[in-house]
Amino acid sequence: MRIRLSYYVSMKDIKRIKHLFARAGFGMRFEDLRKYKNTSINKAVKELFENSDNDDPIAIVTQTIDDMMLAKADADTKKKFFQMERDQEKNLNIGWITKMSTTDAILREKMTLFWSNHFSCRDGKAIYIQQLNNIQRANALGNFRTLLIQVSQSPAMLLFLNNQQNHKGHPNENFARELMELFTIGRGNYTEQDVKESARAFTGWGFDKDGIFKMRPLLHDTGMKTFMGKTGNFQGEDIIDILLSKKQTARFISTKLYKYLVNEIPDNAHINAMTDIFFNANYEIKPLLEFVFTADWFYDDKNTGNLIKSPIDFIVGLNRQFYVTYQKPDVLLLFQRALGQELFYPPNVAGWPGGRNWIDSSSLMYRLKIASTVLDQGLIDFTGKTDPEDEAFLATVRNQQHVVNTRVQTDPDWDKFFSDIPKDMSKVEIAQFLLEPPLNGTVQNTVNEDNDLKIMVVELVSTPEYQLY
């Protein structure tokens, strides 16, 4: 074989840029190869932020379902409302997947996904969930304090963590506990007394019928509170500021981000450096991310191709790489259920644990099958478990679960996919581009022996290797 130095290999920082796209977005496409031909990694990082400058909120749910009306409604109207609510949730879910699959603001969406799992929430009406999602999007690259306060004051979170029931004299500690355990400082850094005292500071936080945050003075406890060694008539914001004044909060967030973007095994030196940057920048998120993306260690071999894609990363990555459009987008919900991550339905307030928890025998086999069903109009055979909240409703529309055998009606844009591949790229280089881990075994055989490029590509995205990034 003639040895040549291709377009791909000759590109200066291509390996790094590809890694950057995998972690800070949802994977690099062949069309990006041309765009970033002679780009340095620093310039690519800069562009990544520029492309995410604009905050474009989701505005799919526009109608509120009035609970008061619903309570009084007859059975038929109720049924209609339930159907409408389900449709809203479904449309919101598909809307976000579609946004991630088509946007240029990939970093903003990737970080929105991060914050939506950090501030995990599963409650309330679709319109509140959409609002919370938009808060996480608007502040995804902004200031963590602003994000934290807006999330804490959103109807979705106030409902989910029972702060509507947190009243003077009858404190509900749910929000105060999760604020410390999961949102800011982490377990082992506060006492039970801190939980009790801070819950009093959040008494009266609630929202009105229009979903606007209200501090209700009559329900608020104005007494003195002692929290983490300080005493005063603290308000909720004061508690948040005391928590942010502890460097441990910057460390807690940095560690979580490191595991999301870099490696599941924390590296103390790297996390220390991240913590310093984040804390000294008053919890601005952008400088922290810039630091990570421009650090040499971010591109080390041991930090490459070693993370298991979340189901959303997997689905969105596939959609983007092959420009997939869905004639029946409902199938995206089936995929999410089969793979164990349904947007807006996290298992609990701690979010999805991620990593190897994504993988068991059935979820892995679905992953290996879904790629070819999407790219080749296959069948997906899946019934799955329904959400208990849906079930009474479902039972009214069907007698029992029946096996779903759905033809996945999709349109991948193969023409665009192939025309974007640089003409002098070899099959090995195409494979290396599609997969993060090094090629070996059967994967190497596939590359050597498949003469049909399309078959080779479908096989490559049906491998365990493709599950990593």
Binding site: K78, R122, R177, G305, N306, L307, I308, R337, A338, G340, Y345, P347, N348, V349, A350, P353, G355, R356, N357, I359, D360, S361, S362, S363, L364, M365, L368, K369, S372, D376, F382, T383, G384, K385, T386, D387, P388, E389, E391, A392, L394, A395, T396, N399, Q400, H402, V403, P437, G441, T442, N445, D452, I455, E459, S462, T463, P464, E465, Q467, L468
Partner: protein, 401 residues
Amino acid sequence: MRRRDFIRNTALVSGAFMVPAFLKPLEAMAMSGLTGYKNLVIIQLSGGNDGLNTIVPYCNDIYFQKRNTIAIKETDVIPLDDMQALNPNLSALKEIYDQGYMSIINSVGYPNPDRSHFRSMDIWQTASDSNQFLTNGWIGRYLDANCQNNKSQSPYTAIEVDDTLSLAMKGAKMKAIAVQDPYKLFQTTREPFFKDLVHSQNSEHLNEDNLGYLYKTMIETYSSADYIQNTSKTYKTTAEYPATQFANQLKTVSKFINSGLQTRVYYVSLSGFDTHVGQQGQQGRQLKIYGDAVAAFIKDLKQTNKLDDTLVMTFSEFGRRVEQNASNGTDHGTANNIMLYGGKLKKAGIYNPAPDLSTLDNGDLKYQIDFRDVYATILDKWLNVDNSLVISKNFAGLQFI
């Protein structure tokens, strides 16, 4: 995708003699004795089954007062003793009960109960405290504990008859396998390309990293699918089962048990119990599906002499409030009953006193038995594993087996 030709893999095929040991579960099985082999079948009723309309306190005035439109009429119930009776939709279970193959544990729950479906289900599946978030399930940790004890271990040691695997079945090191239809799983893993991928891997080359983990999972799925399909395919169930999806799942479990599959835990779910509105019709339909299927399953196992080796446990994530709501339904509550079935129950019938409807906690039943005490008993006395390896708190254990 086209069929791959096998010729190009002749080198690999001839290497089949060197298939690593973990790809040969049948041999592994022969080495570990199968005597005294016991099965646990877990049935999950999702949505929060109303225990009070399942096992009805038909002699309690408070029950009729608080549920004036949805109480099951005294004339309709099937009495079990002078306090409690079966919902008429569970009539098929009466015979099972009379034969001493059914036991009911009343008022099972946990401290600081959570009324959210998914959270409470997590608590039941992970055996956690109500303010603790665990990422693995109690059966999963049972698999992990077996691993530590160096017993031979494969994912099929626990099987969920479903498309997806519940959290209960996921351990830190070991996970169970989800199989709705053994033949379909077998077919999927045997797609030529996947087969090539599995056979190209050499166990010694599988690293501890995530790629190694993915291949290890794939190989285990491949060999388990083979084992399950080949062990169970020849067994023909002769017993009659109702024509429901749920009954079909229990029929599959029976097939697995009767064909001698080396599986200790089976997991099946039935949903549709979230009865806020029009409860009587809705719950009645689901209970009928449940009762008819379980009765068929127990009779089947009795006939094949497997009932003595089988323990069935039915639970739901919570019971419902004692007082009905304005829509002829019930809202999320707390403590609930657990139903057990088997040929070797130590105390058949009603295990402990009926729920106390006069001393409520904010309108909810107070729990008398922690559900983890039930789990601990099953782990120690049925699955033969020290429960402290699975459950973090100490429980004395009960006397139902």
